[in-house]
């Protein structure tokens, strides 16, 4: 097989031809809004991949167009024809990675750090050490992150909150027990970025689930969901992640697998499809994916939480993959509205990407900043004092946006699990 033929074989012709090129996806696409050219649209990218598939273009010729996509999948929600755009994009990027491997530093970060449970643990410790040792002070004093990497990572660095020490991390219970007899057994998926940067959000999510009557187990041996790898075209590494997680969760009994990261949840629910042709794993993967629920999605099916009154005005930014991948939109809003005393307002265009898109804020800082700027402008207009998010990368991105707009004193950015945990009534059942 020649190297040039390989990309054609990696693309699913039937998926590509599902697109009727009606153009309904155009208004939903954030990169089209910004660039105004057809090659920056979902329909355009599909037509380019069709051209690669039929041999009229080389995959390298469409690298910029594939890279530019945020992967928010808003086009899938807008598409009346059911085109699996997310899958098509991943195939395209996997084909591209075959001829244009990722830079070594990305491979190291994705595969060795985020791609192993030990790497995730190490990164959490290292981040704490960086923050308390004076390295952070030094880096910020001399603007080292921007100088050594770029403004995208530097902005993200400034947004990272203080993380708990390794000792505090080690105090997390292995099982969270409800007050009475457990209604459901939950196996909790912790994720990589969540676990490194927002471990307390995971703690809070489990506390809230316990308050809702669930027994929650933190499954040992789990790792990253693999989304970061799929999105970067590292398909084989993504499969490794899937298999590791499936095997780890088979060691415990559960009714549902729950996570509090919209992006991870969407990836976990793809395992069944990703491994459908692997006889050893197909059934196991399907069972795993079928059991996955988002935190809000599951909570909305349980008895109302015991909440005490909270003052404040909340608004909510959708996680793209929670909305477009997992189709969970009403539940988080419903939960926020259920908090007594609080006021909920809709964020206009909450369904549009915030610009984080996983690692996109690092790889495309300018596009990302421009989208974030729009988002913060709309946020200001709501008058909310708390922006609620449902996915760790969005969480970081929105903290950065609020900081940069000089609004850090006025608008808090919080994960829905943190908001609900704080509102829990300690006397309640």
């Amino acid at each position: 097989m020649s190297a040039n033929l390989a990309p054609q074989l990696m693309l699913d012709e039937d998926a590509l031809y599902k697109c009727a090129h009606c153009g309904f996806c155009l208004p939903a696409c954030p990169t089209y809004r910004l660039k105004k050219v057809e090659s920056a649209t979902p329909r355009g990218r599909i037509s380019l991949l069709r051209a690669v598939q039929s041999g009229n273009l080389e995959i390298e010729q469409i690298a910029d167009q594939l890279d530019l996509c945020l992967g928010c999948r808003a086009c899938e929600t807008a598409c009346p024809s059911g085109v699996p755009y997310g899958e098509i994009l991943e195939q395209g990027r996997a084909a591209l990675t075959k001829v244009r491997p990722l830079p070594p530093i990305y491979r190291f970060a994705y595969n060795r750090i985020l791609g192993t449970p030990g790497g995730i643990k190490f990164a959490g410790w290292a981040l704490w050490f960086y923050q308390v040792s004076g390295l952070r002070w030094l880096a910020r004093r001399f603007n080292l992150v921007e100088r050594l990497v770029n403004q995208g990572l530097a902005g993200m660095e400034r947004a990272v909150p203080d993380v708990p020490s390794p000792i505090r991390r080690s105090r997390r219970p292995k099982v969270y027990h409800p007050k009475g007899k457990p209604k459901l057994k939950i196996a909790f998926f912790t994720g990589c970025v969540s676990e490194i940067v927002f471990p307390e959000t995971n703690d809070n999510a489990m506390k809230v689930l316990a308050a809702a009557g669930c027994e929650v187990v933190v499954v040992p041996g789990q790792g990253c969901c693999g989304a970061v790898h799929s999105h970067a075209g590292e398909h084989d590494v993504a499969l490794e992640q899937a298999k590791r997680n499936i095997a780890a969760f088979e060691q415990v009994e559960y009714d549902y697998i729950v996570n509090a990261a919209g992006g991870c949840g969407a990836a976990l629910r793809e395992y069944g499809r990703m491994l459908a042709d692997d006889p050893e794993w197909a059934e196991r993967a399907r069972r795993f994916s079928d059991a996955c629920r988002d935190f809000s999605e599951l909570l909305a099916t349980l008895d109302p939480l015991p909440l005490r009154p909270v003052r404040g005005t909340f608004t909510y930014q959708d996680s793209c993959h929670l909305r477009n991948g997992q189709k969970v939109t009403a539940q988080p809003r419903q939960l926020l509205r259920s908090i007594p005393g609080a006021h909920f307002v809709e964020l206009p265009e909450a369904d549009r990407c915030c610009g984080s898109a996983g690692t996109y804020a690092i790889t495309h800082p300018e596009v990302s900043d421009s989208i974030l700027h729009d988002k913060v402008e709309r946020l200001k207009g709501t008058g909310a004092d708390t922006l609620v998010v449902a996915n760790p990368p969005c969480h970081l991105e929105m903290i950065e946006g609020v900081q940069r707009a000089g609004l850090a004193g006025q608008i808090q950015v919080r994960h829905i699990a943190d908001v609900l945990a704080e509102a829990l009534d300690p006397q309640g059942n």
Partner: protein, 469 residues
């Protein structure tokens, strides 16, 4: 393309807005019409009328074809660069320039998305009725060029009934302004009406002005389900005969109902033979009265279920299903070939039944839906463009469908335009004298045939078939 010409184009729009990479050319090689694709030489995205004019001067000097394009949501291959040349994408010209509440007009650039104009004028209590199925993505420039229709055509008319002023760039780069805010104006030939629906073959529209009407106070929606086609068709005829003009009266046959339900999941019974989606707007009391009368007529003609939308959410769900009918069909088979033959509404049942028989005869699958009130039908063939043998049978079936529509006093296209896909049939409808007049108009505007060549006027006319019902 010759690098000197590219340099000239770049000096007009700037390097960022003149594209010629293989990827960019591929991205402008199609619109929403299946089976038509061709690479242009360059893509230019101007930001102003002056830039459009300068581009046309370059094209005129070098005799280069120019293909105006909006969002590429057209269904007659009208913006596909079949004769190579420059694709002139007008998406950057996307400002609403004025909403004049006193004269009730809106003035806008051609790249404004149709739905954005709706939102802007409705915010001040005004209404722009034309609502083509693709309005969330289509541009007003494209709507004007194609003479777009929509669901509300029966009561309110279509794009041509609302456009009262235009600015357009002629092939030689001159800027033509015609029409304006006057409610009455018979000064000279009506060039506005001539350019609406001219499919980018006469001039490039760079600004449009639409008249607006007051936003109706209320809206009511009803859905009627019928065991078969003729009972639905009889209901349509009787509703109109009873002097009720509903804002929309959308029709779907059984295969359409099935695919729409599969996608939208709004609880349509998939065994129904036909459905009518009826909407009336206006003062609350008139809406109530008309919807009740229409519901009663449908029941009398055999509807087994008539539902009134209880709230805005239910109504939106019903209308959304209709709007997405076309693309929902793509779920069944990879390719959907959508036509829009139109007949006087008294002949709808005959036409739909003929389409069904013809599909059976050629062994193909056709879903028919459309705007029953105005006789504008959308027979949509679900197929796979990669299957050449089936494509051949589909072409033969559509030959018969067009011929039959003309025999009933109908027409080839109600709202999609002729473009390239119906150019071989144009003479069937226009006749030799009509064709001759059209050609002379084309020459008067565009002597070198550089504007959207290959559209409207085909290389050759399909041999006309005669069909018996």
């Amino acid at each position: 393309m010759n690098s000197d010409i590219l340099k000239e184009l770049r000096s007009i729009v700037g390097a960022d807005w003149c594209l010629d990479s293989p990827a960019d050319l591929t991205a402008y090689s199609y619109d929403a019409t299946p089976r038509y694709q061709n690479l242009p030489d360059a893509v230019v995205l101007p930001a102003s009328t002056e830039e459009v004019s300068a581009i046309m001067k370059v094209a005129y000097k070098h005799r280069i074809p120019v293909i105006p394009r909006g969002s590429g949501s057209g269904l007659s291959a009208g913006s596909v660069p079949l004769k190579v040349g420059i694709v002139l994408a007008l998406n950057r010209m996307d400002k609403i320039k004025e909403i004049d509440q006193e004269n009730m007009t809106a003035t806008f650039e051609p790249g404004v998305i149709t739905a954005h104009l709706h939102q802007a004028v409705e915010a001040v209590g005004l209404f722009y009725p034309p609502d083509p199925g693709s309005m969330a993505t289509s541009t007003l420039g494209g709507n004007i060029a194609e003479g777009a229709g929509g669901l509300r055509g029966l009561k309110y008319g279509v794009t041509k009934d609302y456009i009262i002023g235009l600015e357009a760039v002629l092939p030689d780069g001159q800027i033509l302004r015609c029409g304006g805010k006057n409610a009455k104006d018979v000064t000279g030939y009506d060039l506005v009406k001539l350019l609406v629906g001219s499919e980018g073959t006469l001039a490039v529209i760079t600004e449009g002005m639409a008249k607006l009407v007051p936003l109706p106070e209320a809206k009511r929606t009803a859905l009627a389900l019928f065991p078969d086609l003729p009972s639905a068709a009889r209901s349509v005829s009787r509703i109109i005969a009873n002097r009720i003009i509903p804002v929309t009266m959308e029709f779907m046959d059984n295969p359409t109902i099935q695919v729409v339900e599969e996608y939208a999941k709004i609880g349509l019974p998939v065994e129904a033979g036909a459905l009518l989606l009826m909407q009336q707007d206006g003062p609350e009391s008139v809406c109530e009265q008309d919807i009740a009368k229409m519901a009663a007529i449908c029941r009398e003609e055999g509807a087994f279920d008539v539902q009134l939308a209880k709230d805005a959410a239910e109504e939106a769900a019903l209308m959304t299903a209709r709007r997405t009918a076309l693309s929902a069909m793509a779920r069944k088979r990879p390719t959907t070939i959508l036509e829009d033959v139109t007949v006087p509404r008294s002949h709808i049942a005959e036409m739909v039944e003929f389409i069904g028989r013809t599909a059976k005869k050629y062994g193909i699958q056709i879903c028919t839906f459309g705007h029953a009130g105005d006789g504008n039908l959308h027979p949509a063939c679900l197929t796979d463009e990669r299957d050449e043998e089936e494509m051949e049978r589909i072409d033969q079936a559509y030959d018969e469908i067009y011929a039959y529509a003309l025999q009933l006093g109908g027409t080839l296209t109600g709202e999609h335009g002729v473009g390239a896909s119906k150019a071989p049939y144009l003479e069937w409808r226009m006749g030799p004298v009509g064709m001759d007049v059209m050609k002379r108009i084309k020459l008067a505007f565009d002597p070198y045939n550089i504007l959207n060549p290959g559209k409207l006027f085909g290389h050759q006319t399909r041999r006309r078939v005669v069909v018996r019902s």
